[in-house]
């Protein structure tokens, strides 16, 4: 049967509330709905010419229901009345085949709420530029990169991206909350060639919630060029153990593994090397790690988590002692603890655990001073691959960077791996830099770690 499709205009708040009400009518004892809409724009300029131009918007709806202690969830991009009715009915139907889980459920009413006031997450200026101006940002970033040195002969382009989004969450305790967010970013990916025909690429970027805080395309291009050029002529190393300095990017990746290990989901399953260590001191006294979802303008900030619990500041590790895991409602109940407001939720699936702004408290020395203190060692600037086992903490990843000789950067290195155990590595932080800079929702200053193995020739 042929049908006529007409466009659907919806009020997101009304839709979230009506989905929760409909689920309750159909037999759900608890329900939670998320509705989101967003727009994205992106462009790539390569070798001065526009390569891609993409612009679009999308909406979606997800519902989680509990029928007694049986849970299920469904999601759809079809927001028509029929689409919504089907979504709710499918969820109720699906709950009939799931098990009774005594720990399941949405948060208690008293736990719900949100941070009042403007968290500074949304600026409409990210969408204020004309298409031509957006393209020009990408073009300028690439041009600035390629202008730095004649060895920069090719490019994977300069980019400009912008996105805005709105998210509404409602549940059957009467909670309803919403927030908007915005992002814009510029990047450049130049490629350099040496006399022997070897090629290297690297990149740099700036990301912000408002155009006003975005670094200039020229600055982004210049740094991308420097990062690429310094890789030319890279050598391998002999297999050895030397002190390793991790720059902010790679140290941030290491810190990300600590988040995964402190994630309540991995903890209650004993799938983390930090399971059972709460209140113990598994790390050195110089290590303090914080998760804070409330920093104004932060990339990891939001007024409430994926279950409608207010976000907060949680000390994860204080002077080497494991103080808190990061939890949502379910994992908190499993561990007989209280949620830390770290539920993360997309449209589909069960809420997981996400961090807010997750960081390692900075120390005193600059990166330069830390490098100066190394007689022979390695500065790691990039990881390749994903060789991390959170159950044991064993860590082995491909790496590239710079060799350090008598406190100076000597030459680039590549095709090596660095290996150790995350527990040992964070117990052996010989130096913590002062350079805590937010370029995303995880931030870590420069770190110097002892005792790791470099594998090479």
């Amino acid at each position: 049967m042929a049908t006529t499709v007409t466009s659907v205009e919806v009020d997101l708040r009304e839709m979230a509330e009506s989905v929760v009400n409909r689920a309750t009518e159909l037999g759900a004892t608890a329900a939670e709905a998320v509705v989101s809409e967003g727009s994205e724009f992106s462009t790539v300029v390569r070798l001065g010419e526009v390569e891609t131009l993409k612009e679009s918007g999308a909406r979606g709806l997800g519902v989680r229901v509990f029928v007694g202690q049986h849970a299920a969830n469904t999601s759809t991009s079809d927001l028509s009345p029929q689409g919504v009715e089907q979504l709710v009915r499918s969820a109720i139907e699906l709950a009939k085949i799931t098990s009774e889980d005594p720990m399941g459920g949405i948060p208690e009413a008293a736990q719900l709420g949100q941070i009042e006031g403007d968290l500074g997450l949304y600026y409409d200026d990210v969408y204020s530029l004309s298409t031509e101006e957006r393209i020009e940002h990408a073009r300028r970033a690439e041009k600035a990169a390629l202008a730095v040195d004649p060895r920069l002969t090719n490019s994977d382009g300069g980019t400009f991206d912008a996105s805005i989004g709105r998210k509404v969450l409602a549940n059957s305790h009467g909670f309803i909350g919403e927030y908007r967010s915005s992002y814009c970013s510029i990047s450049a990916v130049p490629i350099a060639s040496d006399e022997a025909g070897g090629m290297q690429r690297d990149y740099w970027y700036s990301v912000a919630r408002t155009l006003a805080k975005l670094e200039s395309p020229e600055e982004v291009g210049r740094i991308a060029a420097e990062r690429t050029l310094r890789r030319l002529g890279a050598r391998k190393l002999k297999t050895q153990k030397v002190p390793i300095v991790f720059d902010r990017q790679t140290a941030g990746a290491l810190l990300g593994h600590i988040f995964e290990a402190a994630n309540g989901d991995a903890i209650y399953r004993h799938a983390s090397f930090l399971a059972g260590k709460l209140g113990q001191k598994p790390f050195g006294s110089n290590l303090t790690v914080i998760d804070d979802g409330t920093i104004p303008g932060g990339f990891g900030s939001r007024p409430f988590d994926g279950e409608g619990v207010p976000t907060r500041r949680t000390t994860v590790i204080e002077n080497g002692e494991l103080k808190n895991y990061l939890l949502n409602t379910y994992t908190a109940r499993k561990l007989n603890l209280a949620t830390t407001g770290n539920a993360s939720r997309g449209l589909a699936g069960t809420p997981g655990i996400g961090h807010g702004n997750f960081y390692l408290e900075p120390g005193e020395k600059s990166q330069e001073e830390i490098i100066k203190g190394v007689t022979q060692g390695l500065l790691v600037t990039e990881f390749l691959g994903f060789g991390v086992n959170l159950v044991t903490g064993d860590f082995s990843r491909g790496a590239s960077g710079m060799w350090i000789e008598n406190g100076e950067l000597a030459y680039p290195v590549e095709e090596i791996t660095v290996a150790g155990n995350l527990g040992d590595m964070f117990s052996n932080l010989a130096e913590i830099g002062s350079d805590l800079i937010w370029r995303g929702s995880v931030a870590c200053p420069t770190l110097r770690i002892e005792g790791m193995t470099i594998a090479g020739e």
Binding site: V5, L53, G385, I454, E457
Partner: protein, 476 residues
């Protein structure tokens, strides 16, 4: 299965399609296409011996692409009302600036045999039967050994309907089923912990999980790995001989050379393989293909996401680089054959050259002879995945099950280790190729530029004379 799905569900007509493509080419351009997608998916898992939740989802939309020279304009909508599709077409048209062109619209699909079941795909099975699978896996894993303490088993399937209409007369419809099971376990013995993973599936009927790829098969395999890892020793660090077992270790090919042979990187000359067509890139024992036409494989598709039939493409023949994997744009700009490798994650994404099932053909060596030839080295049989920098050619992949080889014999299992190498020369060091080609069990997902697509890999047993192994043990 019902063809003409989009025409019936959304009331599409030939006139509508002409109108949309006309709007897409309203400012000129070489080519435009419409990509309609309707995806339904179901997933459920058993965790602590309970099915704690189950999920279903529906996602539908249309993406409009306009290509002019090397430029691509793209817009999509998840609202399939005519005015929204027209709006997307006009937005995509902003990439071009010239006189309008008239599209050739055809509603004739090529007749092609289907590589996957057209009736009763796995997604049609009753929910209760899917639930039974994960409970069986949970039971089998726990029964394997009392040291198995945590078990999570999941089942997921999807049915993806696509319709591609191009301004050059391209018209293709496909219904693509996909399903998989996976099992994750943790073993504990006193203070020691270890994990094990297994899984598989494909574009098959549900019955495959009752016959070949049973829950018990995956559960036993995951449990076996975890118990084995309890006694693993630290992996040595440094360069050594490496033997790769058959099947999933083919992820080496995917990372080391596969991405480097995708045509877009070579068109832009950003790949370490640029300009090497016709040159030696591997030892003469190596012949590598990308084959999207294997029945029911996870990486197979009847048509790619640009409406082209997939093919069996020779990439490396006896060590000589023979071809690249191309999509429409690369084929046209580089004068290459279109190999049907234009894929995309969803209607929200621009298609690009992607792998399907990438594997090396069998050689003449007996696997046991390969092991016997190694004095001291590593035998790696399972991997957790990898990554490549296509510009400098460096790649890594992480071994999740590997053993030492000492004096031609497989000895102690080693802990997680990363292997690192250089794409353009790693295959030149392949000195023995087994007669035992295997494809993986159907669990691979490849990421590129933020887009994920299902793929397959495979190799016979291979010996690589020298590779860097990254462990924490003492150097050999």
């Amino acid at each position: 299965m019902d063809k003409r799905f989009f025409f019936e569900k959304y009331g599409l007509s030939e006139r509508d399609l002409e109108k949309y493509l006309g709007a897409a080419l309203s400012a000129g351009g070489d080519y435009a296409d419409l990509y309609f997608e309707y995806l339904t998916c179901t997933s459920l898992s058993v965790d602590e011996s309970m099915v704690k939740s189950a999920s279903q989802g529906i996602s539908a939309g249309c993406g409009v692409r306009v290509v002019t020279g090397e430029r691509t304009g793209y817009a999509y909508t998840d609202d399939l009302a005519p005015e929204k599709i027209l709006h997307a077409a006009r937005t995509a048209a902003l990439i071009a600036s010239g006189p309008a062109k008239t599209p050739i619209v055809s509603l004739k699909d090529k007749a092609r045999p289907s590589l996957y079941p057209v009736t009763n795909p796995a997604s049609d099975a009753e929910l209760a039967r899917k639930v039974e699978l994960v409970f069986r896996a949970d039971k089998a894993a726990r029964a394997y050994d009392p040291r198995i303490k945590e078990v999570r088993a999941s089942y997921a399937d999807e049915l993806r309907r696509i319709l591609v209409i191009g301004s050059d007369g391209t018209f293709a419809e496909d219904v693509q089923p996909l399903s998989r099971m996976s099992v994750f376990v943790i073993a504990r013995d006193g203070e020691l912990s270890a994990k094990g993973n297994s899984g598989g599936g494909g574009r098959n009927k549900f019955e495959i999980f009752l016959t070949e790829k049973t829950p018990e098969h995956f559960a036993n395999e995951a449990a076996r790995q975890a118990i084995l890892q309890l006694s693993a020793v630290p992996c040595p660090a440094g360069e050594m001989e490496v033997v790769l077992g058959p099947g999933w270790p083919g992820v080496l090919l995917h990372e080391a050379i596969g991405h480097g042979l995708e045509a877009d990187f070579n068109r832009k000359k950003t790949s370490a393989f640029s300009g090497l067509l016709g040159k030696r890139v591997a030892s003469d024992k190596c012949t590598v293909v990308d084959n999207g036409t294997l029945n029911e494989r996870r990486g197979s598709i009847n048509v790619d996401d640009e409406g082209n039939s997939t093919s069996n493409t020779m990439l490396i023949e006896k060590g000589i680089l023979k071809g690249y994997m191309a999509d429409k744009l690369s084929a046209r700009l580089m004068g290459l054959p279109n190999t049907g490798n234009g894929r995309r994650e969803s209607y929200e994404h621009i298609p690009m050259p992607r792998m399907t099932n990438t594997y090396m053909l069998s050689g003449d060596d007996l696997p046991e002879d390969i092991i016997k030839s190694v004095k001291r080295g590593l035998y790696a049989v399972n991997f957790a995945g990898g990554q490549v920098d296509i510009t400098n050619g460096k790649f890594v992949f992480a071994a999740s099950e590997a053993y030492l080889i000492e004096d031609g014999k497989i000895t102690a299992p080693v802990k997680d280790a990363t292997l690192i190498g250089n794409g353009p020369d790693v295959l030149t060091r392949v000195s023995m190729v087994g007669n035992d080609l295997q494809l993986d069990e159907g669990i691979g997902t490849c990421g590129k530029d933020g887009q994920s697509v299902p793929v397959g890999v495979g190799i016979p047993t291979l010996k690589i004379d020298r590779m860097t192994v990254g462990g924490t043990g003492s150097a050999q």
